[in-house]
Symmetry: C2
Subunit: 462 residues, 2 copies
């Protein structure tokens, strides 16, 4: 439960100066010690009245060394931000390790404002509180220290009130609330400062709560999730049939993508599959049809050291499409439960929680109105070997084949197991997997084009 | 001089398909080879008619593997961008090494549009062409390969026409123009594609023009630039006097910064000085007075490997203030001609050209209406040693003192020489240095507060 800070009588000027001096020393000492730590700190100042929040924000910048603290006083959401993923502006502002960010306002108050302004339904508000918890969990798992201060009166205890819900649902082990309610400015500033100093010192001393692991669901969300073994790889198209279908579908895609652009609908086309499965070719058949102003392709490689300092999904959030644009991912966030799992780059705990984190990310996309397609381009081992050999003969494709590609072939069965579990745990009604029989490239490209057209059409109809 | 591509008769469909197939192979081969190179490629498609430009842009994305190319089709500048540094959107979009970015439109066309739309005077347009050359030079020096295609009719040869000026002034060794003028779509696409393929192949084969070095000016822009030896370090303020002045100045600064925020005026306060010179304390006296929503502090450390892949000033451009905000730099772009020069981290060629690059950056800031202050906090060696010793006794300040700080003391004289040359070469009317006598902290803080107030006042009056 939220801690409360008893406030008592108005503090005299002299008493304030004495306590403030001690507080400042404590905060600066924490700040110095924090520089040697490999986690970031997020201090969130929330409340319904902006005045006292600004006052406390400014006080923190009198106490801390401002060179190593980032203020994030977020203005009202712009018209564009209102249509966008509401957690984007927080994902973008997660500080680097060893640094402190102070938020005036924040994700929780934003969720409430969205409801208050009529941008979302009560149902979506409730969903957003769940997304917030998943966000805070990911921060927690990445080691971040989150301190949330509610400044002002605690909302009345009618449990149906959204403001009460907001506080209760987000008061949990990963990021507890502390409530500071007083009409005296000096009392308020000291209470906030001392709460933060205590919380930082506890953490620096190595004290930390643990979170229960998110349970792995024992069943899929849909009735019969796909499996690699069930894909019929014998299907094929002849060249003439392919050309005719491709032209028709590309024409359709051109129109649909234009319409989505005009209506501000974003789209994510996520490509996974075996090496040499034909991801590049399939992507090019899409980019040919869409105006170059409206798409980007993100090639996902192993995370850099800089990226590893953030929650795993951070580097994907950076590339999620703005309203009205398409982002294609050549390899995706599923790397966590594929290569990182199979190669042992991620701990069991880390890749197992990824299913839940990924599902949550995709739910947010779909709830914001995005079209979302997830492809696995499936070929068999013989076809892969034939393609490797063929590539080695074409000068401009040689760069695509490395020793590692051959080594990965040895783990084929482990990848099959990881794939089938991934399909089972991340296939949902809203974000289904499309397993593409890709031994025949023509067939693969037509299926991909058709699937993205269907997805854009559905997004336009919503 | 700009190369021109003769266009001749309309190419037949059959001939086109044959040449396109060969072209595509060449482009993909270049793209593959480029991945092993440590420089980026920028392809700029400019012209007065947007239609053929989009057509060519889309053609490039049919030919290249879209996963390793970034399209930058820049929409019209927003109202906010019109008030901002016009090169910002290009600095932000410089691709990483080994990657290709294709711009539909670009810095040169933007400069012309600004004039055309009445946003800038003819004089400022001429200045912007100079900034563009300095930008292209920095790209060149960082190894980038820039290919500029002018698509459409070459502007008439009346030398006074801005459009003629635009092409002539920006047609130079660092980034030559090639002109493609034809009414036939197939001819146009092939000509553009083939020009790019040739240019890439030349570069991949190791051919590169050289640029004449920017001459070091032998005199300062102002009559008597400051020197460290002339600073009178004996000045001091007593505590009472300091407190009274500080309060008054902070109150004034609060008002002025509010006014600048409302009028969209940005400000840059750049802090350099000896270690323990009191930069942090001076910065805090500013942040205390300004609303935390309106400022940020950027602490500059050594560049990371990722940052080294870009032109030197790139990492500072990222942090330049948006209209209406203040950015304080704790250490700055002057690191190039101070620590990097003294420690030998930069070659002579690199730190010597930095004077010119820096002057150009600061000119752009001032021309956009920004308030700009540059401080050197000056103390003597004895005072520095005394502060190091004092810090070691205060637990929360220990993190500020390292072995390196002591080592740097041994190079005091080399730094003095570098400083005086820096003041001489980068003191201008618009961007003067303020050398602050900082043996007395009170005096230093008052001078800093007074200087920033004056600068904001002048910016408001302009």
């Amino acid at each position: 439960m939220a801690r409360k800070r008893a406030t008592g009588e108005k503090i005299s000027k002299e008493a304030y100066e004495e306590r403030e001096s001690a507080l400042r020393t404590q905060l600066l000492a924490c700040q110095g010690d924090l520089m040697d730590e490999n986690y970031p700190v997020l201090i969130v100042l929330n409340g319904l009245d902006p005045e006292p929040i600004n006052e406390v924000l400014n006080a923190f910048f009198e106490w801390f060394d401002p060179r190593y603290v980032e203020p994030h006083a977020l203005h009202e959401r712009t018209a564009k931000e209102r249509k966008d993923l509401f957690l984007r502006r927080y994902w973008q502002r997660i500080p680097a390790r060893g640094r402190i960010a102070i938020f005036a306002g924040g994700w929780i108050l934003d969720a409430y404002d969205e409801l208050h302004d009529g941008d979302v339904s009560l149902f979506q508000f409730a969903r957003n509180l769940i997304h917030i918890r998943k966000f805070e969990r990911q921060l927690f798992e990445a080691g971040a220290h989150v301190i949330k201060l509610w400044i002002g009166e605690e909302p009345r205890l009618d449990p149906d009130e959204p403001s009460v819900q907001m506080l209760q649902q987000t008061d949990w082990a990963a990021a507890e609330w502390a409530i500071v309610d007083t009409q005296h400015s000096r009392n308020r500033k000291l209470a906030c400062g001392e709460l933060v100093a205590e919380s930082l010192r506890h953490r620096l001393d190595g004290e930390r709560t643990t979170l229960e692991a998110t349970p792995l669901r024992d069943r899929a969300d849909i009735e019969s999730p796909p499996r690699l073994a069930d894909v019929d790889l014998s299907v094929s198209l002849d060249r003439e049939e392919y050309r005719a279908k491709r032209k028709k579908l590309q024409k359709k895609l051109h129109k649909l993508s234009d319409a989505c652009c005009k209506k501000g609908i974003p789209a994510v086309f996520a490509f996974e599959g075996w090496d040499a499965g034909g991801k590049g070719g399939a992507i090019r058949r899409i980019t040919q049809a869409v105006d170059a102003r409206n798409w980007k392709v993100v090639s996902v490689a192993a995370p850099t050291d800089g990226e590893k300092a953030y929650p795993y999904l951070w580097r994907f959030w950076r590339h999620l499409p703005q309203p009205g644009t398409i982002t294609m991912f050549d390899r995706t966030w599923y790397g966590r439960v594929l290569v990182e799992r199979v190669e042992g780059f991620a701990s069991d705990h880390d890749w197992q929680r990824a299913y839940d984190e990924i599902r949550d990310l995709e739910e947010q996309l779909v709830e914001t109105g995005a079209a979302l397609c997830k492809f696995w381009l499936h070929i068999d081992r013989d076809e892969q070997l034939a393609r490797f050999k063929a590539r080695e003969k074409i000068p401009y494709k040689q760069y695509k084949i490395t020793e590692e590609d051959y080594r990965n072939r040895d783990k084929w069965d482990a990848y099959v197991e990881a794939c089938d579990e991934m399909f089972a745990r991340t296939s949902t009604e809203a974000a289904p997997w499309t397993l593409v029989a890709a031994n025949d490239k023509y067939n693969a490209r037509i299926i991909v084009l058709k699937t993205v057209c269907d997805a854009l059409e559905r997004a336009l109809d919503r």
